[in-house]
Symmetry: C2
């Protein structure tokens, strides 16, 4: 693994612009009735965000088809945006007073702070539906159905929503490493897994590649979360977009809390190396490799 972040940043910026434009087009305009709901949806989705999941999906797709092809990427944007809508839905509901009670998101008032709790609940609901609606826009019906299976699994009680529930009901007193791992595999891992599996379906990847990239996604999701925990404990507020120590004040169980800081760093590095080992022999893997390098560089 070796540096090269300038090119990676440019790649991410280009794809982010593409995704942001598509997200804006799939969402209803603000002046469409009922305006409050459409305003809230646009506020939540278009108010920033790294677009990690859609961009990783596009990068994996381009790796698999072996070249950059803007026309083909245009056709898979419904799948990329579908994941982002589902992600946005989970953030809106997670931020609610009964769950994480977060007043801010990406440096701005969270949805319920801006629009009230009732509208925030329905905005999250509408974004879940928007996620399915957008996926249906894939031009290939057979692939749309296969992606739908993936999306349902990723969102379900076996995936993202299950992870959120376990996160709520687990408390520091009774939490164990395997529970924390399970929460992260489901909450962060599920949608990264969906991103990789979408890419495989859309690029007609074989089963072995799909299985490998599913493992890649799960390792990556865990690595991401361990690093997030570490940054929250030690890192730069600006980088993380939330106040340092927030997890601790919320009495959230984190990797540093359970494993200590040094062991958590080792775990993060191991997970990134495991991810690297999965893709190192694949052709055209430059973007993903550089992404892993940039992630490794985030370990504080």
């Amino acid at each position: 693994l070796d540096g090269g972040n300038l090119l990676l940043e440019k790649y991410f910026d280009t794809k982010r612009d593409l995704v942001n434009k598509a997200l804006g087009e799939y969402l209803d305009p603000e002046d469409r009735y009922p305006e409050t709901l459409h305003k809230a949806m646009r506020y939540v989705v278009l108010g920033g965000g790294k677009r990690l999941r859609p961009i990783l999906m596009i990068a994996t797709y381009e790796m698999l088809i072996g070249r950059k092809n803007s026309q083909r990427v245009q056709k898979i944007l419904p799948a990329a945006c579908s994941i982002e809508f589902l992600h946005a839905a989970s953030l809106v509901h997670d931020d609610l007073p009964f769950i994480d009670n977060a007043n801010e998101r990406r440096g701005k008032p969270s949805c319920h702070k801006k629009f009230g709790n009732a509208i925030a609940i329905l905005t999250g609901d509408a974004l879940i539906v928007k996620s399915f609606e957008t996926l249906m826009k894939l031009p290939n019906q057979k692939k749309a159905l296969a992606c739908m299976e993936v999306l349902v699994n990723s969102a379900s009680t076996r995936g993202m929503i299950g992870g959120e529930v376990v996160d709520i009901i687990s408390s520091p007193q009774r939490s164990k490493l395997h529970i924390l791992r399970d929460v992260h595999i489901k909450k962060t891992g599920a949608l990264l897994k969906a991103a990789e599996q979408f890419a495989c379906i859309l690029a007609d990847a074989d089963e072995q590649t799909t299985n490998s990239l599913t493992d890649f996604a799960l390792n990556l999701g865990l690595a991401y979360q361990v690093i997030d925990d570490l940054l929250d404990e030690m890192g730069e507020e600006e980088l993380l977009g939330k106040e340092i120590g927030e997890d601790r004040r919320n009495e959230k169980v984190t990797y540093p809390l359970l494993l200590g800081i040094e062991e958590s760093k080792k775990q993060a590095l191991k997970l990134i190396n495991d991810s690297y080992n999965i893709i190192k022999h694949m052709s055209n893997n430059q973007v993903l490799v550089e992404f892993l390098e940039s992630l490794r560089d985030r370990i504080p």
Copy 2:
């Protein structure tokens, strides 16, 4: 229109059993991790309910295929249950303290009263996902995709969720009949429309029949709501399953409030007659006709 409610009741009971059994099978067992979430989902869905939407879908399907065929009905149960899951999701979120603040549902503590607000929010989310998941179980992929389009439309900001938002933001001061009508068309009508359109897709109905039955659903949805409003104002608590006058205490705008009781009754009767006129020339329409009669008899 003439009576015959005993046979209708038997028909509804039989189909309700069929739907309840399928709902129970599609839901995860209570002892599956995370147990709290699966318990809450089963509590909400299996704790009673008329199953109006799925049964109307099945009745319409049987009318269209021209005979009772239990094997074919078995195959369309995913579509019937999908609508019910979406309906259940909307009830859980509507009952939350910020929206309708309803402590009871079907004579038992509402989901958030029983499981807490956080779990209730995620239970509603999980039921939306379950609705899509279940629809994917339809054996015919082409029809599954066509139904998916219908479901997305019915749930979206143009349908059910849009109606809920308008319901929240409209208040007695500024409410007008066309707004109330719009709320009901979206909140109640959208899923009845989905039921009729599912039946049409699954029975290979032609476009004209589909359009007629869509109108039938919208008339029926409005009739149902006007009668519900009337019963709330004047009717029997037991029949309605909520305390009488609840709508008024919640300062909800209702038909009797805007039109007066007598005019509301006239409207309900007119809507039922309009529904009848749409289906009166269709073959094998007995169940639907009897259903309209039973609805007419509910007008207080």
